[in-house]
Subunit: 333 residues, 2 copies
DNA sequence: TCGGTTTATGTAACCCGTTACACATATAGT
DNA sequence: ACTATATGTGTAACGGGTTACATAAACCGA
């Protein structure tokens, strides 16, 4: 590969002049510039980013930490962050953390050695105190890690409340909840939203809440156990779509038909919910938007260190599909 | 951040000695080594990989090119490549190419400037001649790009044949095919496998083949049009699972019940097929294995340039689920 | 005791850019 | 005509490692 010296030699100038042409700074005579440009062209010269990074202490690389890219919520997020990174000329590094704090720290160590410029993190296990001491910008996405760390999330609590309200409007009178892991901030917020909507109801019991993992199987079992214990429930709010699909399968296994006997609504808005039978009603997050916004915020913080903690919260939106349906005993005509 | 000079100063040795300790090469007196190790410890020193890369011309980074990580076939592949990369101390870069050759070339250019060490490529659009002139190792995965480029794939043709045989064994007597895009090598091979199994049958007509994109919607439409034109078909082999799920929906829309009236089998073995109703029978690729193997081959080629073109083909395996079922007019008792 | 290895360590060049600084010429203002 | 400023270009230090080469002491066999 040609180096800047080769270009300088061919154009009969110094490397400094070539560098000036390359970066468009300093004074360069028009004719000189043309000569250099021609030499660059002839040699098909591309500056070595590693040398640049060494000098600048910057690599133009950002990373996204997700628990596991195989979880269908994350590919769209990854796509959004990657698109934004590419558009701003950053290279995109993907890390699967398995929600393991040791892996997270190992990744950060390894990436800092490569002068990584910043990280978008989806995590509930990383210690907030640790993150605060990382010397590069970090943006929390989808889950909150530490109150004074910049983050991009959605209004989980209000969205969850609306989900339950939707079930009520469809005529459900006994609404249960399959919750996500309590150490994950959004799972907790969604449960609170559920409680906001049902705690006043005279029929409400705490045993209407079943805890599970953010996984398909876990939700299937949770749904079965819930339906077993409480055959009277006719509405179910599930903490996320992946679990929602599990719940659908759990109901199917219990021979409870959805939506005729049981309405199910979940949360996230991933495409998986469009392929089930029945399709899954959900409170959709603007997944691409939040991923893209997090990447933008990150790059902004990288390129001008000034701004302090930024917190952005987006709205979720009801997408009504087949798993919720108006009951016959509906009081609105 | 501490540098090698700081360590050298603290340990009262030269930077060369520190470097020797770091890399475990050259002669270093035991006591000196301990002193250096202690200094490294004290300063929490981590060598700067960028400086290393500059000198070595290697970055310990590999990339995976996929058309779009949002396509549910790719996350598992990405996970496999990332796991393998991490295990061998490589950083993992993910690139979405959208099957656009210009993007692919732009990525390669950008990454070569960062001294990227190698690429695992899932692509059908990249020019094989272009790839051959890339000066770093490239492994083709899932699709073949050029005959003398190393690749990891599965036995698509034979797998497809087996899929159709399975339908026959279940009692299907009119078997159609929804094919993938013909410029994608595996789609073509799967179609050939279908033809191997049906071309001799007296009922076979070329209009039993419907071409589509590797997308959900496209397959749904294809299935509907096929069922409209040929209400007699009782078996359907679909080129991949994503399309298979589309076909399931197409049949549902046409009020054709699966598997009672129509058996559907697809190809890939992605988890999406487990969440539909009915669940989707498929010829499963060992997705994680091929991804992981491709990454291993790549790293091997990076670390010892000798070996020539390596081609590995894995077997696919039938996973029988609900979308195929034995017919009553079955001739085997 | 002497030349030949083996062991141990340091000096400096190198990887390839960027930029501070020096220097020279041109243009402008008074 | 004489500074002051703008324009144009080169030299060399720098970023942080690695390693070829030089040097020197210790060890070894004859």
């Amino acid at each position: 590969m040609a180096t800047i010296k080769d270009v300088a030699r061919l154009a009969e100038v110094s490397v400094a002049t070539v560098s000036r042409v390359l970066n468009g700074n300093g004074y360069v005579h028009k004719e000189t510039k043309d000569r250099v440009a021609k030499a660059i062209q002839q040699l098909n010269y591309r500056p070595n980013d590693v040398a640049r990074s060494l000098f600048k202490g910057r690599s133009k690389m950002i990373a996204l930490f997700v628990p596991d890219i195989m979880n269908p919520f994350f590919p769209e997020l990854a796509r959004a962050v990657e698109d934004t990174a590419k558009q701003k000329d950053y290279t995109f590094v993907l890390c699967n953390t398995d929600d393991d704090p040791e892996k997270e720290i190992a990744y950060i160590d390894a990436l800092r050695q490569k002068s990584l410029d910043g990280i978008v993190v989806v995590s509930s296990t990383m210690s907030g105190d640790y993150v605060k001491n990382v010397d590069i910008p970090v943006i929390a996405l989808d889950r909150i890690l530490h109150e004074d760390l910049s983050s991009v999330t959605v209004n989980n609590r209000e969205g969850a409340r609306q989900a339950v309200e939707h079930l009520k409007k469809q005529g459900c009178t006994r609404i249960a909840h399959i919750a996500g892991p309590e150490h994950i901030s959004n799972a907790k917020q969604r449960m609170n939203g559920y409680l906001d909507a049902v705690q006043q109801e005279e029929w409400f019991k705490f045993s209407y809440i079943e805890q599970g993992e953010y996984r398909f199987e876990s939700a299937k079992e949770a749904a079965q156990s819930l339906l077993e214990r409480h055959p009277e429930i006719d509405g179910l709010f599930v903490a996320n779509d992946l679990m929602g699909v599990g719940a659908l399968k759990g109901a199917e296994a219990m021979k409870v038909s959805v939506p005729e006997e049981l309405s199910i609504i979940a949360f996230d808005g991933i495409t998986l919910g469009e392929t089930t039978t029945p399709t899954l009603t959900t409170m959709a997050q603007p997944i691409y938007t939040i991923g893209s916004r997090a990447a933008e915020m990150l790059i902004q913080q990288i390129e001008q260190a000034d701004q302090g903690t930024q917190v952005e919260e987006f709205e979720v939106e009801l997408i009504e599909r087949e798993s919720t349906k108006r009951r016959q005993n509906d009081d609105e005509t």
